[in-house]
Symmetry: C2
């Protein structure tokens, strides 16, 4: 029985390696619109164009891919606890003119109250752009952004992902409005509330209400033990 030379065991040192990056699609809700965080590139290639925030994976510094994503998120925004998940990998010989690159794209949602961008030398090059009126993006970042949008819209139907676009405490009418913005259609109030109640992923904050010049509304928060899934997957 010959066990020699499985192809995965060519000596790694001989093998040219692709560049490995992490890119982030960070969504928020501002001014009633879904917006995405973009950076203006300072150097070639694509100098002056807008791109998703990202950076090289640094083996000497990053403990894991998730760690690299958290480092990059923290360097652009001052957000402590966003919702973040891996989106998809993109890698080929053409996406970066400097050579073969592979990127792990991540998908993050942050609340508009947490919007403070990281102060620093380059803060002015970081900006929120409405998704609908976004500029042309560098590299294949428009593809990555569209993939993130699909993930967001696809998951809205059966998760409470949109709750992460709101402050920690929010009302059900707030939340319904977020769903309506992302799905771009009106939802029935009664059905929406029944669905949320059945899912059991939210809990009322005892005694806390939001007051306006009308009937006050109950504040809710995401249950700490909640998985983000609705419906039969519970």
């Amino acid at each position: 029985m010959t066990k020699a030379s499985a192809s995965q065991d060519i000596s790694p040192a001989q093998c040219p390696r692709p560049f490995v990056t992490v890119d982030l699609v960070i969504f928020t809700l501002r001014e009633g619109q879904l917006q995405v965080l973009l950076m203006q590139r300072a150097v070639p290639p694509f100098e002056g164009m807008w791109a998703l925030p990202g950076g090289y994976v640094r083996p000497d510094e990053d403990e894991s891919l998730d760690g690299a994503a958290a480092r990059i998120l923290g360097s652009k925004t001052a957000v402590a606890t966003p919702y973040i998940e891996q989106l998809q990998g993109f890698g080929n010989a053409r996406r970066d003119p400097r050579g073969w690159t592979a990127t792990f794209a991540y998908f993050a949602l942050i609340a508009s109250e947490q919007l403070a961008l990281q102060s620093g030398a380059n803060a002015e090059d970081v900006a929120w752009h409405p998704v609908e009126t976004r500029p042309v993006l560098a590299f294949d970042h428009d593809l990555i952004l569209r993939t993130g949008l699909e993930r967001l819209r696809g998951k809205v139907e059966y998760t409470i992902l949109p709750a992460h676009l709101l402050p920690a405490k929010f009302t059900l009418p707030d939340l319904q409005s977020v769903y309506e913005q992302i799905l771009d259609r009106r939802l029935d109030k009664s059905a929406f509330r029944k669905k949320m109640a059945d899912a059991g992923l939210l809990e009322p904050v005892p005694g806390e209400m939001r007051h306006a010049s009308n009937r006050p509304s109950q504040l809710y928060r995401i249950r700490s033990d909640a998985t983000p899934f609705l419906g039969r997957t519970i």
Copy 2:
């Protein structure tokens, strides 16, 4: 306005790069069981242990990540047109004792009739193992396999993924049986057939029936223009 030194533009050449691999979780259905393709490692680390098929991404040879996955799939099996999709990335400093590695895991389904493994010097080191009785795996491959299983089970409910575990032509009772094996529960025949009919992703093969010592059953195939999704996502 200072646009210098965006962190993603540290000169790539200065940056140590992780190893980049592609690993495959390849499922099939044999002997009424869900099975996964494994290879026995010929060299350290984890010499002699079983692992998922995989290999380094080769910038000089692979056009893209998908291309690398297809190359590796083709080198282990003689399968022409499997179902394959990207599963998830895994990367950290600890998963391979040789250093920081990142892998793009892929998920493939092939029909048992296409099972011919690639003949070659190492063919005897490639083998199908029932998922339930699999050996302990090298690296973090058990985590990757479990992630693949979750993807399979999670997608069964609303896709025709299981059809890719069958030959090109199959009967509805065949297909229902696959669903039942993966979900590990009985399904109602009437409801199952209605759901498949409504989805419109299958088409009968005109005039072709499977004969046995009972009423013959209609053969179906996946519609060539079909996306694999059922239900409201259509």
